[in-house]
Symmetry: C2
Subunit: 316 residues, 2 copies
């Protein structure tokens, strides 16, 4: 696709004030959800595009070949079992153990996952959804072990990316590529369909170095339980389940969370956040300092846009 990326804009005005002193505030989303018109050559069906626009997420199964999937799973296991080559800042452990929970800058630590991040089945879809060239705002490998996998409370990613990373507008999408089978019982990603249409400005100032604790258990930038209750009761609740290889695209403002997991079955996924080149991050809107690069890619001087790659993912 060809895009004329407009000048960076919006950064002068804070379109979504949050981390408020005086309480939570709900407002209507100001941005489009689906930034392209659907057309015959689009990388997803019209029904899929409509679902993403209306619900704020899209689950795609059977996207990769068995050989591709095997390679991705093996490579992810290797990264987790031998994280010795990975910088300490790029690793997050479980709250109550040293088990690796997250490897950040996944594309930098693995040529294979770098290739996956550029794959047209992932980045090409992100380009279409965002109607722009895209770059990786964040990339990581998540690993939620069996038996002791902890819950992650309801939140909108955009609220944090806006407040703490300076992402101006809602023009980003996450792609989660499941590397294990994910059932309703082993802590799947749960989403509130349609919640992406409302911005929940959260109460509470951002503490210094908030990300050092928020990555383990988020306390700031989360909606009130009453708000989640009301939205879930109006809009329902869905779980993005599927076999390994399933891709879950979810819009940056869709409310999501996951339960803990006492089953023996671990949950693992590769997670890529695509942001539009027209939506580059600037100064945080509601934090004193920017978060580190592994959380919010700044680029030098700006990040490189991705040129989506077609064809089979192979070892090499």
């Amino acid at each position: 696709m060809n895009f004329t990326t407009p000048e960076r804009q919006f950064t002068q005005v804070d379109a979504y004030p949050t981390r408020l002193h005086d309480g939570e505030r709900l407002s209507e989303r100001l941005d489009p959800v689906l930034w392209s018109e659907w057309h015959e050559d689009a990388p997803i069906t019209r029904a899929e595009a409509d679902h993403y626009r209306d619900k704020g997420y899209l689950v795609r199964k059977d996207v990769f070949s068995p050989e591709e999937l095997k390679l991705l799973v093996e490579t992810s296991a290797h990264l987790r079992e031998d994280p010795s080559g990975i910088a300490r800042d790029d690793l997050i452990s479980e709250p109550e153990s040293d088990a690796v929970r997250t490897v950040f800058r996944l594309d930098a630590h693995s040529p294979l996952f770098d290739r996956l991040a550029r794959d047209s089945r992932v980045a090409g879809v992100a380009e279409f959804l965002l109607g722009d060239q895209v770059y990786l705002h964040q990339s990581r490998l998540n690993y939620k072990p069996g038996f002791t996998g902890k819950e992650f409370y309801w939140h909108s990613d955009f609220e944090t990316w806006h407040a703490e990373d300076g992402m101006p507008r809602m023009r980003a999408v996450s792609a989660s590529i499941l590397l294990t089978d994910n059932s309703a019982l082993n802590g799947p990603l749960m989403l509130v369909p349609g919640s992406h249409k409302t911005f929940i400005a959260c109460q509470g100032e951002t503490p210094e170095n908030n990300h050092e604790t928020s990555l383990k258990a988020q306390k700031i930038g989360v909606p009130q339980p009453e708000t989640i209750s009301r939205m879930a009761s109006e809009l329902g609740l869905d779980a993005a389940t599927g076999p390994a290889g399933t891709i879950v695209f979810f819009e940056c403002n869709t409310l999501h969370g996951s339960n803990g997991n006492i089953t023996p079955d671990p949950r693992s996924n590769a997670f890529f956040v695509y942001n539009a080149m027209s939506n580059l991050v600037g100064e945080p809107y509601a934090a004193d300092r920017k978060r580190p690069d592994f959380l919010a890619n700044q680029g030098r001087p700006v990040p490189d846009p991705i040129a989506p790659v077609t064809g089979e993912i192979r070892k090499g």
Copy 2:
């Protein structure tokens, strides 16, 4: 049904030694599962009886009328919201708050739930499964709130009842009557089908007053993760989901647990443990002192057998 309850037996010999010094040990179950022959007048179908025998549990839906269910739900809400009349020993709160998690001796605190415990659709089925007159070993109302409901790790109830309550043999069954809809996402009871056929003798001596902490998070009397992994991988994993009013019968030695729950939907159930009159508890097999009466009903001098009651459950 008419039963000739045999003399109390077995108590001289410990048929299921547990809380071992030198490690965990698996052995075959020594007792029948289904203690009655199925017959035309049985309170469950032949397929249900077979399922219970083979899997160790049975889920029955649409048992109560809407009016009965409404009455049960309202009464449970009242007990929870106003627990002031309930003895402190009979109340358990969430680990990190004062919210009521459990009301013990439910039958003593509510005439309506006492009636439920005697209902032929519950106690009558228990009689059939155990092939004997039954009494209430334990009865309680469980309440797992939305958002913060904690997980409960895998365990066999019998292991604890044997070790800490002196229950001689596997001739007891629990009935959980759901008082809220229970989906796979809000922390349902999960079971390992067929696990009731194996006794897992657990490692570790019983600490004094173990029940004071084990009711919030059980540490002693739980199988090793590797054992649960192996059994779940061989036998699978099931979740007892259903609308409010569903009854889940599960055999005393069936491995079960539940995940935490960040969804807004609470989970609540009435829980009755029926033990066979021929299986009265004696001295604990692996603890210094008996647990209190609210956990293990001793009776005066023995508990009264239940005479199952037919007909509609009504207010009054």
